[in-house]
Amino acid sequence: MPRNTKGLEVAEIIPDSCIGCQICLSECPVGAIRLSAEGVAVIDPEACVGCGKCSDVCPVEAVRFEKKRRQKVTQERKKDFTEGLVGYQGVAVFIEVLNGRGAPVSWELIGKGRELAAKRKARVIGLLLGYQMKEIAEEAIAYGCEEVQVIDNPLLQSYLSQTYGEALADLCRRIKPEILLLGATPLGRDLSGSVATHLNTGLTADCTALDIDEEKGYLLMTRPTFGGNIMATIYCQVHRPQMSTVRPKIMKASAKDSNPKGDIHFQPWNPPAGEMAKIIDFLKETPQAGSVDIGQAPALVVAGKGACDPASMPLLQELADLIGGVVACSRPVVESGLMPYERQVGQTGKTVAPKLYIGVGISGAVQHLVGMQGSEKILAINSDPQAPIFRVADVGLVGNYLQVVPALVASLKKKLGSV
């Protein structure tokens, strides 16, 4: 093993094995590992303290290190990773306004923000943009913000990427929060990408879990990736604020405080110059006849390729009515023209998580499974006992759906009659 000038035996990267995953960079207690221009890790032998942590975490054995020579890392050798980030404090939550009211996801984020702030011994700060926002600011305090920073301006009455992006970035430059959370709503996703670019900081989208790294204090952001097949925990070491969008209905809102305490500050703002986009019209989604939001239905009967037959639709509809749900489908059924795109479950359709999912003739392609695995109970009906859907189904019924579904309907009717 190589030694450095202090005589310490140090770890070494085997460049040909390194896959550039960066895990050792975050693990090194002294920040001795950098990435080269070639995208592989390089250890500075003079900075290395020979603790071997990089070798422990390397997933591909690309670190040359003899474990029995391991050196203990003393506290004073540890470099504080956050030393360049002085001045950034507090957990900020962007308060989204939807139809003149605070969006539920914002209250959920305040709940989570309080938890994170407690671990960081910091405050929860609401960031609010709009026009005549006093009431919503007060509501944010009732939900747990210790202060709310508002830019109140007629130009912010309706959402535009440009004005909101610049205003929120301005607010962050002034308030310097350590963490900034936004809802992963259409508006939040549009806005966060713009703000992160203005602030030149890291953004992790669509998180399902947030926590604080106990040792280093940074935000750990966990999100599904590769269509939900894999979970990744992301962090942002040297840029602030650490930004994250969080899906609605994942975090729990804290209860409203009936006697809240918090300060509301109105901040000045210079609107950007130049020509702006203009909203010409808003076409409210009016439920047309037969139009449904399958994402909101408590129960779904989902038709697959194996049940893609116009003649069997009334049968599936009857089952759906019985369980208080609606009929949805997989992609091939949409492609056949039998059902509209709005009813498609799966990766390129809608992600659903009903209380009851009944798959009829669904084989269970992964693209479909990632869109429904969050369902509370899954009943699968398919004639092929090997169909992948059975691997995620709580209950499987192997058989021809044309026989099984009528029997199921009859049996359910009996049960419903007895209630």
């Binding site: 995953c21 670019t197 097949n229 209380k355 509370e376 995620v392 209950v395």
Partner: protein, 278 residues
């Protein structure tokens, strides 16, 4: 008019798994495809060109094999293609990716002014939906995300009007060019390649630009330019399949038994039987 379309090569996410031994992604043997949302964006660009005239340039950042998605773009009717491929580009997060794409768009713009950039609303591997807003913000273009229809472009007045999907409905919005559009699936249905174009795509050259070709700051590229890093990856908790009942032996019995299993959870059963009101 000059339409620039950004296309990402993605692994067919249905096939990506984690190696339980090493906890790393198994990518070998996984087929690569063009991100479906980007192909919708390309289709929209091709239709705009047919309507308003001009040129469609398709760009992609990725390893040399990402050339495949650009050949596909050529076979569908793209006029020119640029592959951004260089070792320093590797390992980029969305911020570094958008920087690289923007440097390339700036170079294209010097040659022939860009009117509209089109991207998919998100890629199916990362699902972040950030690259579009990042690019628009860096370039100072009008940012139009989640677009379901491009209503018109007025070349003289330099205006575009689109329909965007927002919470609770559709927003009709008009803004100045140049602009950036990110495509929802409803925006357009991708065409199939025609035989002459397919042959042309195999013969055409896909240009490769490296870091020096786009005058990029090496500090802002790839892993170095990426503020977010991966701490760990893991498999999501898997559901376990429950009992199976076979109807071909005893239809009634199988149905009864499966209902029994489904309703074994009393709370769930009472919710179901009361149509979810309890």
């Amino acid at each position: 008019m000059h339409f620039v379309c950004c296309i990402k090569q993605v692994p067919d996410t249905a096939e990506v798994k984690i190696d339980p031994q090493t906890n790393t992604l198994i990518r070998s043997g996984v087929a690569s495809i063009s991100n479906p949302f980007d192909m919708v964006a390309l289709e929209a660009a091709l239709r705009l060109k047919e309507q308003y005239g001009g040129k469609v340039t398709a760009i992609s950042m990725g390893p040399p094999q990402a050339e495949q998605v650009l050949r596909e773009a050529l076979s569908l009717g793209a006029d020119e293609t640029i592959l951004l491929s260089d070792r320093p580009f590797a390992g980029a997060d969305t911020l570094a990716t958008s920087y690289t794409l923007v440097k390339a768009i700036e170079r294209l713009n010097r040659h022939l002014p860009v009117d509209l950039v089109l991207c998919g609303k998100q890629a199916i591997d990362g699902d972040t939906g950030q690259t579009g807003p990042n690019i628009a913000t860096r370039l100072g273009y009008t940012q139009l995300t989640y677009v379901v229809a491009i209503q018109w472009i007025d070349e003289n007045k330099r205006q575009i009007q689109v329909c965007r999907k927002v919470e609770g409905g559709i927003e009709v919005i008009r803004g100045p060019l140049p602009a950036l559009v990110t495509a929802e699936l409803e925006l357009a249905k991708p065409r199939r390649a025609s035989l002459p174009l397919l042959i042309r795509s195999l013969r055409s050259e896909v240009k490769v630009w490296r870091a020096e070709d786009i005058q990029a700051d090496p500090q802002k590229l790839g892993l170095k330019g990426s503020p977010t890093w991966v701490k760990k990856i893991f498999s999501p908790p898997v559901r376990e399949g429950g009992p199976k009942f076979y109807a071909h032996e005893d239809l009634q019995g199988a149905v009864e038994k499966s209902l029994e299993a489904l309703l074994a959870d009393k709370k769930f059963a009472s919710q179901l039987l009361s149509h979810w009101e309890a």
